[in-house]
Amino acid sequence: MTEIISAIIIIVGVLFVVIGSVGLLRLPDFYIRISAITKAATMGVACIMIGVALNFNEISVAIKAFGVVLFLLITSPIAAHIIGRAAYDGGVPLWKKTEINEYEEYKKNKLKKENNKDSQPNKKEE
């Protein structure tokens, strides 16, 4: 029974990963790829881990599997955030169909404010 369940879970996880990989190739811009895909893979790996834990049926393996999932859950969103932010700040273009961009507005406003501040000299950069 556990074998069947674990097999199903593993296959589901693997499919997530495969779909994520296909998506990585197909999706139109970097931001869509990162927001849609890397998470799919995390999800997929989490499934695989559960499958593995089930299959071994041992607490130590379960703990390890759990550890992997925990780490991935903590780290992959943070990594995605930090890379996405760096990409945006570095000027990686958005897909042409990206319609609303409230971040860009915010940045423009911020820049304006800073320029006003900078009219007093000697307070640039860090």
Partner: protein
């Protein structure tokens, strides 16, 4: 002490659980493993449960269930969209006004948003009042709906247990 056992009661519970569940022969490894597990779990969790943890436990469970559900649903949706033509996809970047105040709350929220396929926490405003989220919608563009979903879903449930 706080450094080693961030949360005493939780730790004891976990220890008891562990030693009952783990059928381990190796003497040293068992203790080490127990220590690791206990620490690894209580350390992050101690941020959630500053106090009143019995009251908050159901909330936590609820959050986990909700989050898992969202995760799976969103994953399937993305999976579907990946294998079908992508022309209907409409991405946008929205500014999510935050009620979450502490760094921990913001981080957990941002992570959960990022973990859900289709949304990504891109950045935080300098005063930590806005979270910029890159989101993918389909067919119809409605930024307010996205914000509402996020606030009602993740943030509300999160704040319930952290406060």
């Amino acid at each position: 002490m706080k450094l080693l056992i961030p949360h005493i009661i939780l730790s004891i519970i976990l220890a008891v659980l562990f030693f009952n569940v783990a059928p381990y022969e190796g003497s040293a490894n068992r203790y080490i493993l127990a220590g690791i597990v206990i620490f690894s779990l209580t350390w992050p969790l101690s941020y959630f449960f500053s106090k009143d943890y019995f009251r908050k436990l159901p909330g936590l469970m609820g959050l986990i269930v909700f989050f898992t559900k969202e995760l799976i649903v969103a994953n399937f949706r993305v999976a579907y969209d990946v294998v079908t033509p992508i022309t209907y996809m409409r991405p946008c970047i929205v500014a999510l006004p935050l009620d979450a105040k502490t760094d921990f709350e913001i981080t957990v929220l941002a992570c959960m948003i990022s973990l859900t396929p289709g949304t990504l926490s891109l950045n935080l405003s300098d005063d930590k009042s806005l979270l910029f989220v890159h989101a993918i919608t389909f067919k119809k563009m409605d930024p307010e709906a996205i914000k509402r979903d996020l606030k009602e879903g993740f943030e509300k449930k999160l704040l319930k247990i952290t406060r």
